[in-house]
């Protein structure tokens, strides 16, 4: 089969990092990504299925890998060579249309669940992520044993498969994984906003993840005022359409939050601020801004994947701010106390919020250079989510 594959090659990672500063196209050509012909992965066990992707999204973490920016942290948690791609809607070998919950959790690795009915992302010990029978890998798309969505075939464990209802289109389904991430981040704000008078949540960044967080906030945290810092017109329009109360340029976000909560501005910090802030960017600047606009004892949810950042944390110390990561999804506790799987919530959300409108363009796998270039400049080019379309790619199946 044809696939895009990443090999462990420090030299190529370095070249990609250098070239990415000039042009994503050069980074793709010079970097660790290769368009290759490989055998489909073997089925690791009896509860595993072959999945043929229909659509697979290009995520920010995928771009970070391709452009050589992935953090060294992952060196011990992934295995090479791997096929990227974890935002997948596809068909199983038993004829179901599914979306894949990509985390290679306890069930997939044959380990005891941390609690009954735990989702792949649940648990508080990640040892299973590097245990046999699979090669190390936090999720499909970063594991040598499973393949990934940027190929015509991969394998997935039964615990990872969610059947897609007929009324959900492929374009909606490919948004389930990022929507789950956004909903998870939104629900991580719940403890700071539920039961609070006039709660305010700020969202910094309105790419795919920021927009999915807005959808999650509007859908699952009722009565919260959502203020979004969005850079590009398409992002601003979609943030508004998904339920943001106020959408401003990111540079204007601190003042917009101040106005909303009626606090003071002391130096470059707000005296109060948002009850919670979702940072959907993950840079030094965005985390710094998030800390400055979040009220004392508020929470900053780090949804955007950071790498190495430089932060002045005196404010965090003084304001006793909670800074928490929001990697994926699992089992959620909703504001009414009920529990639900994030992916189930996301399957509802993609249809009801019409998240197919975030899918701006699709490309065949063979046009991966242009696809990745488009994804790297999505906001600037008026796009949000770029995906590979493998539905009619006979070439990819050869």
């Amino acid at each position: 089969m044809r696939a895009l594959q990443v090999r462990r090659n420090p030299g190529r990672f370095g070249l990609a990092r250098l070239a990415a500063g000039i042009d994503t196209r050069a980074a793709v050509r010079m970097g660790p990504l290769e368009y290759v012909r490989i055998d489909p992965p073997d089925l690791p066990g009896p509860d595993w299925h072959r999945v043929r992707p229909r659509l697979t999204g290009i995520c920010g973490s995928d771009l970070a890998t391709v452009e050589g920016h992935a953090a060294p942290y992952f060196d011990d948690w992934v295995s090479f060579p791997f096929v990227p791609g974890h935002e997948i809607v596809g068909d199983t070998d038993d004829g179901r249309r599914v979306v894949i919950e990509p985390v290679l959790g306890h069930a997939a690795r044959g380990c005891p669940l941390p609690f009954p009915d735990a989702a792949p992302g649940d648990g508080d010990d990640y040892a299973h992520l590097v245990r046999p029978p699979l090669e190390p890998g936090i999720q499909i798309g970063f594991c040598a044993s499973t393949g990934g969505g940027w190929a015509s075939e991969l394998v997935a464990h039964a615990s990872q498969l969610h059947t897609v209802p007929d009324h959900v289109t492929d374009e909606q389904a490919v948004m389930v994984e990022p929507a789950a991430g956004g909903i998870h981040a939104a629900l991580m704000c719940a403890t700071k906003v539920v039961g609070v008078d006039a709660p305010v949540v700020a969202v910094l960044g309105a790419g795919t993840m920021g927009l999915c967080a807005v959808a999650g906030l509007r859908r699952y945290l009722h009565g919260v005022r959502i203020i979004v810092g969005a850079r590009y017109p398409v992002q601003q329009r979609l943030a508004k359409a998904l339920g943001a109360d106020e959408v401003v340029d990111p540079a204007e976000l601190p003042r917009a939050v101040r106005r909303a909560v009626g606090c003071h501005m002391v130096g470059d910090h707000l005296s109060g601020g948002a009850h919670a802030t979702i940072d959907a960017v993950g840079s030094s600047a965005s985390i710094g801004t998030s800390l400055r606009i979040t009220r004392p004892r508020g929470r900053v949810v780090l949804l955007g994947m950071p790498a190495e950042v430089r932060l002045e944390l005196t404010g965090l110390w003084h304001r006793e701010t909670e800074l928490v990561g929001a990697y994926t999804y699992g089992t959620e506790t909703l504001p009414d106390g009920s529990r639900a799987r994030t992916f189930d919530l996301a399957l509802d959300t993609v249809a009801s919020c019409e998240l197919q409108r975030l899918v701006s363009a699709t490309y065949p796998l063979a046009d991966h250079v242009e696809a990745l270039r488009h994804a790297a400049a999505a906001g600037r080019r008026g796009a949000v989510k770029i995906a590979f379309d493998l539905r009619s790619s006979q070439e990819a199946r050869r």
């Binding site: 401003v248 340029d249 204007e252 003042r255 917009a256 101040r258 009626g262 501005m265």
Partner: protein, 527 residues
Amino acid sequence: MPRPGFVHHVDRSTPPTLFWRGEGFSLERLPADRSRIIYAPEPLPAIDDIDGSIRHALEHPIDDDPLSSKMFPGMKLTIAFDDVSLPLPKMRRPDIRQRIIEAVLDTAAAAGVDDVHIIAALALHRRMTEAELRHAVGDRVYDAFAPRGLLYQHDAEDPDALAYLGTTPHGEEVEINKRAAESDLLVYVNINLVAMDGGWKSTATGLASYRSLRHHHNVHTMQHSRSFMDQHRSELHKSNWRMGKVLVDSGVKVFQIETTLNTDTFPQPFDFLSKREWEWSARDRAAFVASSKSLARTPVRLARKIFHSIEAPHQMTSVQAGAVEAVHRVTTEHVYRQQLVEVQGQTDILTMGIPYICPYNVHSIMNPILVMCTGLGYFFNLYRNKPLVREGGVIIMTHPTLPDFHPVHHPSYIDFYEQVLSQTTDPKEVEKYERRFAEDDWYRHLYRTSYAYHGVHPFYMWYWGSHAMQHAGRVIIVGGDTAAVRRLGFTPASTMSDAFELASDVVGRSPTITHLHTPPLMVADVS
């Protein structure tokens, strides 16, 4: 003998005309045979004996008793004075406020008055710095009163320092500075730079609170003030006069001292800015070229500093004291004598160059909202009878209109620009946001303790231009930051030619044009 104002009809021999562009200027050629340029009257001669005239005015007041007869030991005397927004540019020392305040204090001292407070009548403007206060009242007065807390600035947000005096028959609440209201005598020291200033506006606005000001600083009043320079056709003034009656009925005793200035606005080497271009000497042309070229290479912050350091040579042309309304009638005559220019009829297009300064950015930044206010609020309103541009006509302004804001002076302007103008530029819609800004605790804190304009102030600036916005078919800014101009709801143009082309959609291919060659200030008496 100074020459009166002049309307020059542009022909092919007319040299290019000077247009202000913030901290710079350009020469623009206006179409021949259908354009005219209005020049301000030349400066009237200053009073020879300024201190003598002041003393004479105090002892020979209009419709009132001599100031000395009103003074007695043990009395409570308050002297209020116009703030940093007047005059423009700031005048060379000694400022006339200093001369008048010193004369009033001499009179008080001679009468054995020792309970004297001196208050800067800020209304909702920013507080003045020590340097600005010293410039206005002089070092002697400042050093004698400020250290003892007897020279201070009106605080429109201090509930303990305000006195509610009642309402007008129109339901307008009157609340002014408590010390001023409860004094045995309030002496108000005014500078009438334009006909709008002075009269009851001095006290009823300068010493008032938001509760009071909101009754006349609103869209309805501004749109029905035609113009601000014509008291009898100005709802703004009628409201202030009604409030003045409440002051009188409440027993507030005001001794009004009003002054007028001539139009000698710019010192050398900038004096060419006041001249008619065809009369420029070789030295004037050289000064224009040198200053234009050097300003073009000067960082904008430095250029601002250079311009704001200008001290105008304008001098006092009259001083009168006594009863507020009687004094103001005489003052207005003096203002008109200096500034009035007779103009025949309206035109399709009004052009004006917006300079670096307006009343609200002294030692500060002319932000986009102030550009709008200066052009549409002030310059457009420099008329009597009818606006210079016909209804549905086009107003063209020249200014860089950078989206720069002074973070200390104009904090609520930034939010106004970001939050309000991004949603609407319609003054009636804008008004819906007013209360929240007016009552924002942070703005209130900065107004009271820092050097910030009150939270509501950008709204007032926007209302100030609401009559012009209602009147004009299109507003174009030449040379402005495109995004900022659009945020204001106006049309950006790169050059004057482009602006005329854009205007042709509204006023046709051969419109008549009037250029208001100001500053110096003038009032067009449009027949």
